[in-house]
């Protein structure tokens, strides 16, 4: 059954609309990310779910009970949720064990039981040895683990995470992504995860809601989001891509420099006259010789305009004669082409995504 439902939720601040007509349904045990650039309204949405803010229209329901509506909002302390904050919000005046045990104490759990559960969860996040430390004596990663333990130990109805990894350095961030997913797999807590980092969202989430300027652009599983973006914003925000404009002309679509048969482009509705497609850089292959068209591939000859070596791969910018636009392509480190060298590109037409 659906655990958490946001129905047409909007929030305005004066004239500014922070969140507009947000609809989202989370199943029990699901982890959904809200992903978007800063100022897109994702944190506002999260704070409305937590009850720190009331929506200006729409409702939020947990287990079928309305907890937020424009007229009344259940205070956060009665929502049986927990949250991990961007600053971790570890209380500096309490030890690790006191921090983690706080929620249980408020819920009037017996002291023995609190001790047992705190020890158990601290072992789970590998912080057992540091239980008597004060937060000032912990590293950022350790504080993060305390925050996780503190939020999970109360077995919340919904767990909310607000950019939890943004204050960590790159290596630690990568490690903690997996840690969060591991804990989610173990405890199966319904979770809403706010982040601006697409890799973080893709590693941790069952589904991702991409937000832009207060609206939801697309809600999908990570694979579908990357492979089949529905809007230009999603295609550009999730990974890098080339946007290419084309003209529908009879049975072929001409992109200037190369063309594909009309039936090769998968689309829900009928194809309009002016087509915009997204081509991921890694679905453009570079070759020295003409590979020959056919078999769902299209080819064209061009010239390397600019290139950058990034260690793991090459970044090439290729100009096609007759095309308005320069295409970006990534190639394996051993595929070396010189600048101004003529080069053949090969595109797998199944990898073209029609945006409009």
């Amino acid at each position: 059954m659906s655990k958490l439902v946001l129905r047409n939720v909007s929030r305005t601040f004066g004239n500014f609309t922070a969140v507009e007509n947000f609809n989202l349904t989370l199943q029990e045990g699901e982890l959904v990310s809200l992903l978007g650039p800063s100022g897109c309204g994702k944190t506002t949405t999260l704070r409305m779910i937590a009850g720190f803010m009331a929506p200006t229209s729409g409702t939020i329901e947990v287990d079928g009970e309305v907890i937020s509506s424009p007229t009344s909002s259940l205070p956060p302390e009665k929502r049986k949720m927990s949250m991990i904050f961007q600053s971790y919000a570890i209380w500096p005046n309490m030890t690790v064990a006191e921090n983690v045990g706080f929620g249980l104490q408020v819920r009037k759990v017996k002291p023995d039981e609190i001790r047992r559960r705190v020890n158990e969860i601290l072992e789970k996040v590998q912080m057992g040895a540091l239980r008597e430390r004060y937060p000032a004596e912990l590293s950022g990663g350790q504080q993060q683990r305390v925050a996780l333990a503190r939020a999970i130990v109360v077995k919340p109805a919904v767990l909310l995470l607000d950019e939890p990894l943004s204050n960590l350095d790159a290596n630690l961030r990568e490690e903690m992504r997996f840690e969060i997913r591991r804990l989610h797999d173990e405890f199966k807590i319904t979770t809403v995860y706010v982040t601006h980092d697409q890799a973080e969202a893709m590693v941790t989430s069952d589904r991702i809601a991409v937000m832009n300027q207060g609206r939801v652009e697309q809600i999908d599983a990570p694979y579908a989001l990357y492979g089949r973006p529905k809007t230009r914003f999603v295609a550009g925000f999730i990974g890098r891509t080339n946007f290419v404009e084309g003209k529908c002309d009879g049975e072929t679509v001409d992109f200037g420099g190369f063309s594909v048969p009309r039936h090769a482009l998968q689309t829900d509705a009928s194809l309009p006259q002016d087509v915009l497609v997204s081509i991921r850089p890694q679905s453009i292959h570079l070759l020295k010789q003409n590979p020959g068209a056919g078999g769902g591939r299209c080819c064209a000859q061009g010239q390397v305009q600019r290139r950058a070596y990034l260690g793991e791969y090459w970044d090439y910018y290729v100009r096609l004669p007759g095309a308005a636009q320069i295409l970006r392509a990534t190639a394996r480190a051993q595929d070396v082409f010189e600048v101004s060298e003529p080069v053949w590109i090969e595109i797998d037409t199944t990898q073209l995504t029609v945006i409009r």
Binding site: P76, F85, Q86, S87, W91, A157
Partner: protein, 586 residues
């Protein structure tokens, strides 16, 4: 799941009306009542006295009918108007003299390599600690006609018949007032100078300007807004001061506004006339504080907003000894000389017999502190009232700072709360006291005669100090720390009790001390609100000044100073060396 289903069932089961109430009750944030209470207390402490002051000034004392007679009475006699003029003369002259005292000291301590900075700093702190009226007592001992030490010294040295100094004069009053107000100029100017980067001066030097020219044409203009603000503050201090004028002007047979107000309260008290007469004082103060804010908030002096960059002291070369000499001269006037004669008087069998060992005794201090019921009770009262006032002020200020910073009320209500809490800052203590008198001496609420009127008046007077500190403290706490408590099931009060209060312990203790210190020495409000059973040390000291028992006066003063020093030492432990001479504290 099961739990959720059960909860849903519970929500659906009862009939519609109770469930709607239950829904409303469950969704209600119960902490709202406390915020309403805080607003009510502010109305009681700040708004009501001021409204009553205004009202009473337009009322016939017996009938309560509207009249302008009070204003006519207040400004009809030339000596009443003269007192107003005297206050202006006092304010302008004392503030100017403060600049003469304060500016060179601030520059020397902030920007130069002058030796002996520590000594000068301690002396200025010492000056801050001496209550102005105690300084006045010291100066009476120094420059009283005939018997004053300085007069006796001059007679001794020159063989003149009569010493040249008379402290019971406008000149004397200006000098004493300036001595105990110049630390404000010092603090304001020094903190502004501390922000001027040496690179600004280097830029002028490299273009060929010498040190003196650079200081006058670059450094000084940069800190000019701070100096102007300090000038205004000191002017306002001077015209609102009661203690020193009462000790010096009354024997000198002239009046200033505050002493004139006090005369209106001589039996039978003419509250309505006093209220009318206090209006110019109130208006000037409000206007100048507004002006001061305009000056300090003006844009264009961007260099003062940054961190200041690298700073090197300016080498004074041969000039450093004359500079030190001047600094010590100012400190001698304000601190060393008055303190020496006060200690001498407190420890002497008879102060006039001079500095000899056989004149030394601890009897005065012992008698004042322990044996004399009057002074012993006054000491206890001083502690009790200042302490209670500090607790109330800090609690209320914390409440308001919390409400405003956490935006628990709308923006406009928040601004209003903040404004009301800061408002006593622009109300001279003497005017506030008249307001309290007007508001709480008649039914429905009679506080006059009880300790409460003093405690509440002190709390109100120093509420802005508490608020400035609480505000800074609350701002230093990340709201997410409280959000974390709430989302885990704790209420706002749990958050305040378990997280905010423990984290703010030190700053709150600091705020407590910063209110407690002026509370122990408050005179201008206390003098109007005290009664026989609620004497405090400051009032007692003033009352006893008529009797000419300077040994006792000095003893009371010394006890006050000792209390203050102990408190400041505690403050240093809690908040670091700077806490008294910081600008926010001033």
């Amino acid at each position: 799941m099961n739990e959720g289903a059960a909860r849903r069932a519970a929500a659906v089961a009862p009939s519609v009306a109770p469930s709607a109430f239950g829904h409303w009750w469950r969704h209600l944030d119960k902490s709202a009542w406390v915020w309403l209470l805080a607003i009510a207390v502010l109305l009681f402490l700040v708004v009501n006295p001021l409204l009553r002051l205004l009202l009473v000034s337009f009322q016939q004392p017996d009938t309560g009918a509207f009249t302008l007679a009070n204003y006519a009475a207040a400004y009809s006699r030339s000596r009443y108007v003269d007192a107003l003029a005297n206050s202006l003369i006092l304010g302008v002259s004392a503030a100017s003299l403060c600049l003469v005292f304060g500016l060179p000291l601030a520059w020397a301590l902030s920007r130069t390599d002058m030796p002996g900075k520590g000594l000068v700093w301690v002396s200025i702190l010492g000056t801050f600690i001496i209550p102005p009226y105690l300084g006045a007592v010291g100066w009476i001992l120094l420059a009283g006609p005939n018997a004053g030490w300085l007069n006796r010294l001059v007679v001794e040295l020159t063989g003149m018949e009569k010493g040249p100094f008379n402290i019971y004069s406008m000149t004397g009053l200006v000098l004493v007032t300036a001595c105990y107000s110049f630390p404000y100029v010092f603090v304001f100017t020094k903190s502004a100078l501390d922000l001027v980067s040496s690179e600004m001066e280097d830029a002028a030097n490299i273009l060929g300007s010498g040190n003196l020219r650079t200081t006058l044409s670059i450094t000084l203009p940069l800190v000019l807004p701070a100096i102007l603000a300090a000038f205004i503050l000191v002017f306002l201090e001077a015209i609102a001061l009661f203690g020193s004028p009462a000790l010096l002007a009354l024997p000198g047979r002239f009046h200033v506004v505050t002493t004139q107000l006090w005369q209106f309260f001589e039996y039978p008290p003419k509250v309505s006339v006093a209220a009318a007469y206090s209006m110019p004082l109130l208006c000037i103060t409000i206007f100048l504080f507004w002006l001061q804010r305009r000056i300090t908030h003006r844009k264009g002096y961007v260099s003062l907003t940054g961190k200041g960059g690298e700073r090197r002291p300016i080498p004074l070369g041969g000039w450093k000894w004359p500079m030190l000499g001047y600094c010590l001269f100012v400190c001698t006037l304000s601190f060393f000389m008055p303190m020496v004669v006060i200690c001498q008087a407190a420890l002497a069998k008879a102060w006039g017999r001079g500095f000899s060992l056989d004149n030394l005794t601890l009897d005065n201090l012992y008698f004042t502190a322990f044996e004399n019921n009057l002074t012993r009770n006054a000491t206890l009262n001083t502690f009790l009232y200042a302490g209670s006032a500090a607790v109330i002020a800090v609690a209320l200020a914390l409440c308001v700072a919390y409400i405003v910073n956490r935006q628990l009320v709308g923006k406009h209500v928040g601004n209003l709360l903040s404004f009301l809490t800061m408002a006593p800052f622009v109300i001279p203590g003497i005017v506030l006291a008249i307001g309290f008198y007007a508001a709480y001496t008649q039914p429905p609420l009679v506080l006059y005669g009880s300790a409460w009127i003093l405690i509440l008046a002190f709390a109100t007077r120093f509420l802005p100090i508490a608020y400035a500190n609480c505000n800074a403290a609350i701002r230093s706490i990340n709201p997410e720390l409280e959000d974390a408590v709430r989302i885990l099931g704790g209420t706002r009060f749990t958050a305040i009790r378990r997280v905010v209060a423990p984290l703010l312990k030190r700053s709150l203790a600091g705020a407590f001390i910063l209110v407690f210190i002026p509370g122990t020495r408050e005179l201008s409000a206390a003098i109007f609100l005290t009664s026989i059973n609620t004497q405090v040390l400051s009032v007692l000291l003033f009352d006893k000044s008529d009797e000419g028992n300077f040994e006792m006066l000095a003893s009371i003063g010394l006890i006050l100073v000792v209390i203050t020093v102990v408190l400041i030492l505690i403050g240093f432990r809690l908040m670091g060396r700077d806490f008294m001479l910081r600008r926010t504290a001033a």
